[in-house]
């Protein structure tokens, strides 16, 4: 197992460098002049020239890439024009919020998606199955941002069940930052009131963010469960008189969950992208909102940094998914 991790980590480093190359290419080969992009729209010409020299943007592309990598290594991701702060500090402040939202959403999608997928298989072609399948097909088709607006309108405004947005009431005491994730920090500092309010604020955004993932997990898990339940070893298990509950939740699910894992990994990545939409609707101060604000005022450094961070986290997730896959499937485990 250790050997797999090492090999994958080395491979990931190459992927990361590749990611930086692509992101670097976007900022340089794009028709826009990189110096003007970095300086921002309201910079004067001589400011742009000064920046060009300062950042060595006039040198050939290869050296510029080397300079770019060394800056990254030194943690200098540039400064944001619209927050007037170093991008690194912004990321430190905003990324934990996005991470909390995405983890919350993927947990919701999996904890609801897998059972519903199983139920869809159990009630095949009955009413519950049709409704679950309709939810699955629409879930993928519903625009996340529009769904967020409708949830906000109905659940928050009309029924006043949930707050409109943000992460916490202004005057609610904030737990001291350990992980930057409010739910975790408030639990660590034992402040249950804040924890409840933090979860409270997470419900609607994570509902909007997780629906497409929930839909896909249902579809994949339902198909896999159907296929697995027809397998011979299930017939054998039933022939031995093993109880249906054990057959479904263990014998079948452990096999069906493997391909579903791949979908969970893929959907986690799309969710990272989806934060760009959902955080805007709910004014949720994460990297998604940070990136869109930067994009609208063509403030370039933050967008590049956020792309890097989200890309890297998606790679990490893919690695974790592969590891769990090896953990669960002995046939794969024995090959490494």
């Amino acid at each position: 197992m250790g050997q797999l991790i090492v090999r994958r980590l080395i491979f990931m480093i190459f992927m990361l460098i590749g990611l930086m190359a692509i992101v670097f290419a976007i900022s340089n080969i794009a028709p826009g002049d990189p110096a003007r992009l970095a300086a921002g729209p309201d910079a004067t010409n001589e400011m742009v020239e000064r920046l060009r020299v300062e950042r060595g943007l006039d040198k050939p592309i290869v050296t510029r890439f080397a300079v770019y990598l060394s800056n990254l290594a030194a943690g200098d991701l540039g400064t944001s024009l619209h927050t007037r702060r170093a991008v690194v500090d912004d990321l430190a402040r905003y990324f934990p919020a996005t991470l909390e939202l995405v983890l919350f959403s993927i947990a919701f999608a999996v904890l609801l998606g897998v059972p519903l997928g199983m139920a869809g298989a159990a009630f095949q072609n009955k009413i519950p199955d049709h409704s679950i399948r309709f939810l699955a097909v629409s879930g993928v088709a519903l625009p996340m941002f529009w769904l967020g607006l409708m949830l906000q309108w109905y659940l928050s405004l009309e029924l006043d069940l949930f707050p409109l947005g943000g992460r916490l009431g202004i005057m609610t005491p904030r737990p001291e930052t350990v992980t930057g994730m409010l739910t975790v920090d408030s639990l660590l500092s034992g402040n249950f009131g804040t924890f409840q309010e933090a979860v409270w604020h997470l419900v609607l955004p994570s509902l909007a963010l997780s629906l497409p993932a929930l839909a896909s997990i249902i579809r994949v898990n339902r198909a896999e469960m159907l296929e697995t339940l027809n397998k011979d070893y299930i017939l054998n298990a039933r022939a031995q008189g093993i109880g249906p509950l054990r057959i479904v939740t263990a014998y079948a699910l452990k096999n069906a969950i493997l391909p579903t894992l791949a979908m969970i990994g893929l959907r986690f990545g799309w969710m990272l992208g989806g934060t760009v939409l959902v955080e805007g609707v709910f004014d949720y101060p994460g990297v998604g909102l940070y990136a869109t604000k930067a994009a609208v005022s063509s403030d370039f450094d933050p967008i590049i940094a956020v792309t890097l961070v989200l890309g890297a986290s998606f790679m990490l997730v893919n690695l974790l998914i592969d590891l769990t896959y090896a953990l669960l499937d002995p046939r794969v485990r024995s090959q490494i």
Binding site: A119, P128, K293
Partner: protein, 535 residues
């Protein structure tokens, strides 16, 4: 594959329970927006961020709103119409030649750290602003020198002007007094305390700064032992929170849900919509504020006067009124009606396609075919609708419009330099006093770089007229000069002159004591008299 329905139903039930688990969490009570251990905090939801707090630096509606609560000035504007009220200075007198003004300070005035507000502190504050020479400094430039301000005794300050200045008193409310001890203690490498005062306060005002969370919320705590006391009895008032909300829809929603007690900057139909709610009321008050689509007179396509005239005559002025649902009046002069010496200008441009084409013919683009960039405040619906009206109107002269929404700080930054100032920029400008000089100065090079000076107009004749009128003290002699100034400004067409709109706020009925004064900028609230009583 015989799966009993029983397991499947248990599986769904557990999933529903999980989802339902979220539902049982408590809802927020909605009497007052925020409560912290019994104390009520009033929440004001606005869209404009507070870029800094330093009284000596540039000001806008959000900055000045905060400064007014954290600091005191010698005098203060209150009421409708706006009148100057004694504040730190209980009384004042002027010498016969009108050159020396003497102010007697209130004896009991004290700073937040308990130290008394002395004449020395007043002198220190005025000298600090003059030395930094930003923000309000332009108001007294050329009339008062730093050494002309002296502390006669602990509670008396005298100003010696080098030439008589009618508007002197009308500018003083914007010169706030800082606590010298606190500023001196926080000077870092000769920045005169600017670093410290950026996000901290050293004043004597009715509120203290509790939390300054840039981009999210600014929390002010009520200064219970404020030396001047409060005009209401309510010991439950804990403070005021100015909370940033990105879009007007979110402001409205916060108000409806009771997450905000008062919201500013709503469009007329939004105010109508919230007004229909029984426990929300709205105010609507004509203001000194003028609106103009400032054009860059030095760079780009709008540098050519003919193009500016063409754009002015092609614009559909009726759309201003319709967008404001009738709650506005078209400006008949660069000076708004409430300004002394305002005279209606005969040839104020109105929509006249023939004339527009006439001017176009004389320009470098005889048949149009160019694009203008229109910059407006992101999320400000009124200005966005004007953009759409502009696109429709300019189709007739074959001009396309590129709408660029920016945050207010970015807009001000773009308007600060001739090279980056956009072709057209939507600006609401409120004069700092009713004296005509406060508006005329906006078309003088000394205003270049300020948000209302993004046209960078620099016409020698006009500048001479403004300076002459400024120095004149006898009103009968000033009036005709200002009339000529207004005509000259219209001829130079540095902007498309817009409208005087009513402005107002929407607030929950449990908000009491709200007073608006025309001199205040749109969305600038005076917290002093405001308090909540939820029952």
């Amino acid at each position: 594959m015989k799966i009993t329905r029983r397991i499947a139903t248990t599986v769904i039930a557990s999933a529903a329970l999980l989802a339902g688990g979220f539902m049982m969490l408590p809802t927020q009570d909605a009497t007052a927006a925020e409560q912290v251990d019994g104390k009520l905090y009033m929440v004001i939801a606005g869209r404009q961020p507070v870029s800094h707090l330093d009284p000596a630096l540039k000001y806008d509606l959000a900055v000045r709103m905060m400064q007014q609560q954290l600091y005191d000035a010698l005098v203060k504007y209150e009421g409708n119409p706006s009148e100057i009220k004694p504040w730190l200075a209980e009384s004042w007198s002027t010498s016969d030649d009108g050159l020396t003004w003497t102010f007697n300070l209130a004896k009991n005035a004290k700073f937040h750290d308990g130290s008394p507000v002395t004449a020395e502190a007043v002198v220190y504050s005025f000298k600090r602003t003059m030395e930094i020479n930003e923000g309000p400094a332009w108001m007294l430039e050329g009339f008062v020198e730093a050494d002309g301000i002296k502390a006669v005794d602990a509670h008396t300050v005298s100003f010696t002007l080098n030439k008589p200045y009618a508007a002197f008193l009308s500018f003083l409310p914007w010169w706030y007094v800082v606590n010298p001890a606190v500023v001196e203690a926080n000077i870092k490498d000769g920045d005169f305390g600017q670093g410290f005062l950026q996000e901290n306060a050293a004043g004597s005002g009715p509120y203290k700064l509790q939390r300054f969370e840039q981009g999210t919320a600014y929390v002010l705590e009520r200064n219970d032992d404020y030396w001047k006391g409060f005009p209401y009895e309510n010991d439950r008032m804990g403070g005021v929170i100015y909370r940033l909300v990105r879009e007007s829809a979110a402001q409205r929603a916060a108000l409806l849900k009771g997450e905000a007690d008062l919201v500013t900057g709503l469009s007329p139909e939004e105010r109508q919509a919230v007004n229909s709610n029984k426990d929300i009321s709205t105010t609507s008050l004509p203001a000194l504020t003028s609106f103009g689509l400032k054009m860059n007179t030095t760079q780009g396509v709008t540098a050519d006067l003919n193009i500016r005239k063409a754009l002015a005559y092609a614009y559909d002025y009726e759309s201003f009124i319709k967008i404001m649902n009738g709650e506005a009046k078209l400006q008949t002069s660069p000076f708004t009606d409430a300004v002394q010496g305002m005279v209606p200008i005969a040839d104020m441009p109105r929509r006249d396609i023939a004339k527009a084409k006439e001017y176009l013919a004389k320009s470098a683009h005889p048949d149009g075919g160019f694009e203008v960039e229109y910059v407006y405040v992101e999320g400000f619906e009124i200005e966005r609708q004007m953009g759409l009206a502009m696109i429709d109107a300019y189709k007739d002269i074959n001009v396309t419009v590129k709408m660029v929404p920016l945050t207010w700080p970015n807009m001000v930054a773009r308007g600060a330099k001739p090279e980056t100032s956009p072709d057209l920029m939507a600006i609401f400008a409120t004069p700092v006093s009713t004296d005509p000089d406060a508006i005329a100065i906006q078309y003088h090079p000394s205003s270049a770089g300020k948000y209302y000076g993004s046209h960078f107009l620099n016409d020698p004749d006009l500048n001479a007229l403004i300076e002459k009128a400024r120095a004149e003290t006898v009103w009968d002699k000033r009036a005709p000069i200002y009339a000529e100034i207004q005509q000259k400004i219209v001829d130079l067409q540095p902007e498309i002159f817009g409208m005087m709109r009513n402005r107002g706020v929407a607030l929950r009925n449990w908000v009491k004591g709200y007073q608006d004064s025309p001199i205040r900028m749109g969305g600038e609230i005076d917290f002093y008299s405001v308090h909540l009583d939820p029952n």
